[in-house]
């Protein structure tokens, strides 16, 4: 059942993303992106709920579950931020990333077919996993907003303003504001995740992924400090958001 939910969510993300891109290419706004992404999130919730019941704990025990949780988190933040800030195109850019993450989860080996019950569920362990992956969702969406800014910035710089994409992209300022807010939100959640990681039972060794997570946290904190105190060009902020998200995925390799 869980696998079916995941398969349908992945297909919906692929169709929603492709539909949105075709609309953008034609120069029209994709009014259905939000609806597609709501459907994707419902299926993701179905998957996570089934896995949670099987585990009797937060379903973040294998890499497959983490990737789906990350995709859900990305979708959730898009649905919270995208329509509110009238940047529905963010969904068109987010859908491919959701598709990639979920396709990754479906790869054999990353996904435990018959999940075992967690013998000793721990609140701080669950809190650490959940807030950290939620943080990654916000940071992933910041990266998506960064890519959108870089595309718009390039088009404005070289005066290539005829494409449907240019007409549909939100203003550069709005993208940068959303990007910065997502960075703050992601960093805040990551802080919670790391604190919860240190509060896990003392028998648990200090995982190497926790060290990498701290390095990621320092990186984002430094980026926000520079942006706030000194200022940064939009291009540098966007590039940093994209690059740091890609680099921070190392954490998952260390799980």
């Amino acid at each position: 059942m869980d696998r079916w939910f995941l398969l349908i969510a992945t297909l919906l993300a692929a169709i929603g993303g492709t539909w949105g891109m075709i609309s953008v290419h034609r120069g029209t706004r994709s009014h259905w992106t939000v609806a597609w992404m709501v459907a994707v999130m419902l299926c993701q919730l179905g998957f996570l709920s089934v896995r949670g019941q099987l585990r009797t704990a937060c379903p973040l025990h294998d890499l497959g579950e983490m990737l789906v949780f990350l995709a859900w988190s990305l979708t959730l933040f898009y649905l919270l931020i995208g329509p509110a800030y009238r940047i529905s195109l963010l969904g068109v850019f987010s859908a491919p990333l959701v598709f990639v993450l979920q396709s990754g989860a479906l790869i054999s080996g990353l996904f435990t077919v018959s999940p075992q019950r967690d013998p000793s569920p721990n609140l701080f362990h669950s809190l650490h996993s959940a807030t950290s992956v939620l943080a990654y969702g916000a940071l992933a969406l910041a990266g998506v907003a960064g890519i959108m800014f870089l595309v718009l910035d390039r088009q404005l710089k070289v005066h290539r303003l005829k494409s449907g994409l240019f007409r549909n992209l939100p203003p550069a300022h709005q993208l940068l504001v959303s990007l910065e807010r997502l960075l703050w939100l992601g960093s805040g959640l990551l802080t919670l995740g790391i604190v919860a990681g240190f509060l896990m039972p003392p028998t648990t060794p200090l995982h190497s992924h926790l060290i990498v997570a701290m390095a990621v946290w320092v990186g984002y904190a430094a980026l926000l400090a520079v942006k706030t105190l000194r200022g940064l060009t939009g291009r540098k902020l966007a590039l940093a958001a994209v690059a740091m998200f890609i680099l921070s995925l190392v954490v998952f390799a260390r799980v």
Binding site: L152, L156, F166, P170, P171, A172, H173, R230, L232
Partner: protein, 336 residues
């Protein structure tokens, strides 16, 4: 009943002729009532904008009514016989197609402009209130508004800005979003920069700084626009706070160099800066565009964008006309 339209517009009559037939908005109802008193006529609507005046009538004999209407207008305005050449005459289905083209902006001086839709609606409402519309003109105008909406929704006839000023304003909105937090500086108190700055203010720009070699002119323009004058040797300080710079001085060489912008980047916290250079020779050195957060558009770039938009609109005409024909063919409008 037969439908007819007699009119003159920017293509058929010079302004000195058009102004004689212009009807002010409050007088549109009275003008429609006057029109409906014409022998044979039962219904009438008068449309009057700065570029056109058109009389729509429903009469039992369209050709006869046209002759009577022309004679009345010529007599009233004491025009010579040659004045008739300024009029165009449309009867039956031609008149219906013409109204749909007018409402859709296809007959406007600026192809695809949207203001005409509201102006025609206002004229129709005035006639409706004056009681000079009936089954023929009511159905015609209602249909024309529907067709106008369809044309604008299904084609890109109104897309893109077709004037340099509007292109600049649209770009500013693409960079800064709402302009209510944006500050604008004008360098050189020329007419073009005044018009562009006014467009920015009308879209919400927060404040305007005007700098000119002649401080008196800067003060005068600043006063006109509710802005603040800046001495010409102090514009670099103002650069620290503004978001948009419109430059159109008569300087024979570049006035703003890369070093000038580099100097204020830190103080600006690297916020985006939009330069609109409408001066010839250019006021802003092209090197300035190499700075990451700077977007620089000179007069050629802006004109090219406006011209591309005009071309795109031209290419849409055929599509629009197909929609008009198809929509009118669906109905058997009375009077056509």
């Amino acid at each position: 009943m037969e439908l007819l339209c007699l009119g003159l517009n920017h293509r058929t009559a010079p302004v000195e002729v058009r102004e004689r037939f212009a009807v002010s908005t409050p007088q549109l109802g009275a003008a429609a009532s006057d029109l409906a008193t014409l022998a044979d006529a039962t219904e009438g609507v008068v449309i009057s904008t700065c570029n056109r005046t058109e009389f729509y009538l429903a009469a039992s004999d369209a050709r006869q009514a046209l002759i009577l209407l022309e004679a009345r207008l010529t007599l009233r305005e004491s025009l010579d016989a040659g004045a008739a050449s300024h009029f165009y005459r449309k009867v039956k289905s031609e008149a219906a197609v013409h109204l749909c083209r007018v409402v859709s902006g296809l007959d406007s001086m600026m192809l695809g402009e949207t203001e005409i839709f509201g102006q025609v609606k206002q004229a129709y409402q005035a006639a409706l209130a004056a009681g000079t519309t009936g089954s023929v003109l009511n159905r015609l105008f209602q249909r024309a508004f529907g067709v106008g909406k369809k044309v604008r929704t299904e084609t890109s006839i109104q897309e893109g800005s077709t004037s340099v000023g509007n292109v600049a304003v649209d770009l500013a909105e693409k960079i800064f979003g709402h302009l209510k937090d944006s500050e604008v500086m004008i360098l050189g108190a020329g007419e073009m920069s005044r018009i562009t700055a006014q467009s920015l203010v009308s879209r919400g720009a927060r404040s305007i700084f005007v700098s000119n070699r002649s401080f008196d002119r800067a003060e005068a323009l600043a006063r006109d626009m509710g802005g603040q004058a800046v001495r010409f040797d102090e514009w670099q300080q103002a650069l620290e706070r503004v978001d948009v710079v419109i430059s159109s001085t008569g300087a024979p060489h570049a006035l703003i160099h890369r070093a000038d912008v580099e100097k204020v980047r830190r103080a600006r916290k690297f916020r985006p800066l939009f330069f609109i250079d409408i001066a010839v020779p250019r006021d802003i050195h092209p090197d300035v565009a190499e700075i990451e957060e700077v977007y620089l558009y000179d007069i050629d770039a802006l004109e090219q964008l406006a011209s591309e938009a005009r071309t795109r609109r031209q290419l849409q005409i055929e599509h629009c006309e197909r929609i008009i024909d198809a929509e009118l063919a669906k109905l058997n409008l009375p009077g056509t």
